[in-house]
């Protein structure tokens, strides 16, 4: 009897931290603005910019990155105490690569045309620095559930920038949104042209630069010293 009374409160204590405690909520929402992977941590820019010509592929890309990031975070977090330090990069890359192969096969099976548009960039999720960065910085030192939330949060933060950039590029570059025409015909009649410069890759960089400018003038803590 004595023993049981001691064990019971411990069992209750285990799940005492609610699944969405304030700490975990912060993990989820911080990456959306103050700790955004692209504009603040400078991670995952490589693949972010080339897929943002249209909104649809960038949403698919953002979802793919979110899934890979969350599940590889969880996997690494489960085995974090078993990985020898010297070969951890190879172990991490192998796990991420396995996740990416799964995502790639799913995309090929269900949204083949988008997967063709994304071409090598699905494969490049493996070397997407967001994923490696979060594995190194978070999953190697934290429990599975917070790691999962962290993965989802960073995937969302990445997705937000991707979607903003792609909306600007699709509306001004081809006058469409998700494939539907949004620029009224009367504009074209009055002499408006689609700005084909926005479709070119360099403009993606300049748009991200402007997003950083806006974000940092709203949140002056992020300003870098010269």
């Amino acid at each position: 009897m004595e023993n049981e009374t001691i064990i019971v409160p411990e069992k209750v204590k285990e799940p005492s931290e609610p699944l969405f405690s304030p700490k975990n909520k912060r993990l989820l929402f911080d990456p959306l603005s103050d700790n955004n992977p692209i504009t603040v941590q400078v991670l995952g820019i490589c693949s972010a910019l080339a897929v943002t010509v249209k909104v649809k592929p960038s949403i698919v890309m953002a979802l793919a990155v979110m899934v890979v990031c969350a599940f590889s975070n969880v996997t690494i977090s489960f085995i974090r105490n078993l990985i020898p330090n010297r070969i951890r990069i190879i172990v991490q890359l192998t796990i991420v690569a396995a996740m990416v192969i799964l995502v790639d096969q799913v995309l090929k099976a269900f949204v083949y045309d988008v997967s063709k548009q994304l071409s090598v960039f699905v494969g490049l999720i493996i070397t997407n620095c967001i994923i490696m960065g979060r594995l190194e910085a978070f999953a190697m030192a934290n429990k599975p559930w917070p790691s999962f939330i962290d993965g989802i949060g960073n995937g969302l933060g990445y997705g937000v920038i991707l979607v903003i950039v792609s909306i600007v590029r699709e509306v001004f570059g081809s006058g469409e949104l998700m494939g539907y025409r949004v620029m009224p015909e009367s504009f074209y009649a009055a002499g408006y042209f689609n700005n084909s410069l926005v479709i070119m890759p360099p403009m993606a960089l300049i748009i991200v630069g402007i997003i950083i400018w806006i974000q940092r003038s709203r949140n002056r803590n992020l300003i870098e010293s010269n």
Partner: protein, 204 residues
Amino acid sequence: MDHVNIFIKAIFIENMIFAYFLGMCSYLAISKTVKSAVGLGMAVIFVLAVSVPVCYLLENYLLKPGALTWLSSDFATVDLSFLSFIMFIATIASIVQLVEMVVERYAPALYASLGIFLPLIAVNCSILGGALFMQEREYATLSEATVFGIGSGVGWFLAIVALSAIREKIRYSNIPAPLRGLGITFILTGLMAIAFMSFMGIAI
């Protein structure tokens, strides 16, 4: 002549940074001084020059549909191409590890100056990108793939050295505070990429 074409194309027209945005993260993070940019650029050239041909061999003698026929004709229908991501990244990671050990053993001075950039190359997207583009474009011979690897590396090298030189100068300019550092670097890269677009119309 084909080789020269591939080389020039890989450097200028299909530049890893300005046309495909590959290897952007280390490109933005390590371009603060010309010296470290040169070191990292050289390391990227070397790793691309070694890993693209190795991946070419893997692709053609192991992964491609029917690639295993050199073993026995029974394997003519085996298609292992879904394994290519995992094979390529494992190859690249081990080559980077190997390069690191060789440099540490035989050129300690270079090793000290490169520091943490060497292991970082394993996750530089331009390396895996090089391997995947090689797979997609189906180069005919091993030497073509090697030339493509070296060319992409040289293109990346030129881009990072150019950016770091500009950043060294721009430190003395009066930039709006929120744009300092990362913001202006993005816009600079965009402008440089627009300049590089002038190569795009050239057909060779």
